[in-house]
Amino acid sequence: MSSRPLVLAVDLDGSGAHPAAWRAGSDAPDAVLDPAVLRRRVLAAENGGFTLVTLDDALTTTQATVSSGAVAARLDGVVRAAFVSQLTTRVGLAPRVDPRGAEPFHLAAQLASLDIASLGRAGWVVGDADQPGLADAIDRVVPELPADRELEVADVVRTVRRLWDSWEDDAVIKDVATGRYVDRDRIHDVAVTTPTFAVAGASITPRPPQGHVVVIAPDTVLDPAAADVSLVGGADVAEVVERAVAARGAGAPRVLADVEVLLDADTSCAARLAALDADAEWTPTDALRFVGSPFGLLLLAEQLAEAVDGIRLHPAVVGTDLPVLTRFVLPRLFATRIARAPRLAQTLRGALDLPRPENVFTQEEAA
């Protein structure tokens, strides 16, 4: 059971969680690539009081997706997050990056740079898609067996955290008297060796302002204890609660429930769903799905608040459901103190009430 009010996150990738979402809003089909649309939506989420915007992503798409008639374009998540970092002031920004497609050294620098540019608002949604084609796209051997994949994800997360720690917070000393810009004793080789890769030296980028960028991962992808925020889904509320309890029991510092939402808008949710489903089938995902009224969503949030620290919402149609959320749902959740909004000048860790992590290298020295 959680005592603090909920934090609210929203995924703003593409046109929405429903595959026919690109038809439903007032935006043109290529709005998923439009920097002005991205800016508008992230600002709407920030102004509405969301603590976190996540940006789902994948390196490649599939011919099956293309030929199904669904949206087949998407810009890199870290690039999008960095772009909006300068247009926002308090909302957290977490792009999804799948470790198997990434170079750990580059990934650590990218996310640290996002954290520096956003003054401590960066997160990382760790993904591991069952994406046919990733192994073909990447120009090296990519682990594909389930056990190897799990190990690889854990190893990359551990390595990236170590790279963030490779600079102590006060490594830059600018000692004019001795001419030393850094104290080399405060910068450490990470010296990681795993079955599939090794990283020798320190990061190229100084330690991020949050110490570690907030690591957010589904409980199905990463051991909840290795994450800062564990994401749980489920077919019904009981399963979400059960998985939240399990994640917390396994050591998750924070747990967020993934919930897809399709709400009453100008037309009823049922009519909207029927129209969308007529265009494309909305296959179930791991997230809990809610189709109903804003009031119904308030009740669901209240129910979930017993078990989780927050909710990540996936609007079925961003252009339609996001305004309903910010106008009719979030204000009620804040008014009733079921949920809370971030304050100005808070880091994402601060807004999630997560401690700033100790540096593993200074801990090793102290031991």
Partner: protein, 476 residues
Amino acid sequence: MSASARPPDRDHPITRPTATVHLGVFFQGVNHHTVWSDPRSGSQTDFSSFRRLAETAERGLFDAFFLGEGLRLRETNGALHDLDVVGRPDAITQLSALAAVTSRIGLVATQNTTYNDPADLARRLASLDVLSGGRAAWNVVTTDNAWTGANFRRGGYLDHADRYVRAAEFVRAARAIWDSFADDAIATTTREPSWSRPGAITPVAFSGATVSTHVTPTVPRSPQGHPVIFQAGDSPAGRTFAAEHADVIFSAHGSDLDDALAFARDVRRRVAAAGRPRDDVKILPGTSFVLGDTEAEARELATWLVREQISGATALSILSHIWGEDLSQLDPDGPLPGHDPAPRELSRTRGTGAAQGDPAGLARRLRSHAEELGLSIREAVIATDRRPAFVGTPSSVADRLVRFVRTGAVDGFNVSPWLVPDGLDEVVDRLVPELQERAAYPTEYVGTTLREHLGLRSSRDVHGARDAIQRTVVGA
């Protein structure tokens, strides 16, 4: 006085009397040319410093803002090099943030082809290009040493001889990825049967000797088609690579006019041999400026600057790198070591900006300067270091820049400010107006894309043959 008022110089004829100077800014950071110790220096890490420089450059109508790349922190004889600025942001991430607060300036990311993945890097560059409205560029660099490779999944896997083989295949794969969407691939209304027109997104299957990728890309072309390609390698292989693949050469030949003209002739010969128009590749050498109210004041400032850049400790550190042993206990104001460096390959751990070549030759060069002029260690290192290329009043420097451009030696310059973040202010406030007075610099941005700023042909004219064929078929 403007350049045209001078007596004609028969050795350096003006071949392009109306050519204008292109300027870029290179935020280099991690070397001794950035004077971090000056009280006027700001943070080398904070985003606000990068933003300040980019905004100043955009105010000065620069074509491009340029970031370097770091793959491993520099070392001297196994110890982290602590005297220069250390640490930098990931280039594409930082430029994506800068794209939101700038509107015209080009955004150039240095990215190597050895320790990146083609499908991933091509997509990140294309994403920056689309988000910035066609302002992205990629400075293609190669590396191959095992010490750098130890930070990456594949280690030091690539032979030195193969580095440009990989680079060329990598660029070809990237261009294929950038061309995967036909220009009319995406539905224009929400009532069309599918989001993308059937057959309009072409999967890429690239198999070369060093690059293999099969991918269905997710990013269409930007308003400038492809990101602009920069290239910076100076070896014969690097120059040939540039002639075949690059739009811009970021050269090291921009301080001596004869040297710059010889370089330009060599590059244009290679460009023509690659079957391209001779002026298809723009030449933008790296440089730095020291400006003063008088020539004497500028010279005095330059003398002060090089002494700030090469402290006694820095001189000894450069010596330790060349000799391959710790010489930090020597007196920088005393004589050079009496013994020669042991014969060996110079370590690669000091980074690409450090002295390159044969240690014995470098030591000989230092010694001949020292003996001839009676110089100490520090003075000898200063005498052999790269000096600011253009020192003078804004007016005299402008004359020389225009001369470099109008003789056809260069198309412009990539300026590295030695003070961060205010080091570009003087260039923009004092030098740019002098260039404008000579009708050798724009007075506003005319286009919106980097290709337009640089006067480059559209990537489609150069590389879009496949699409031209597709369009013909569709149009027929």
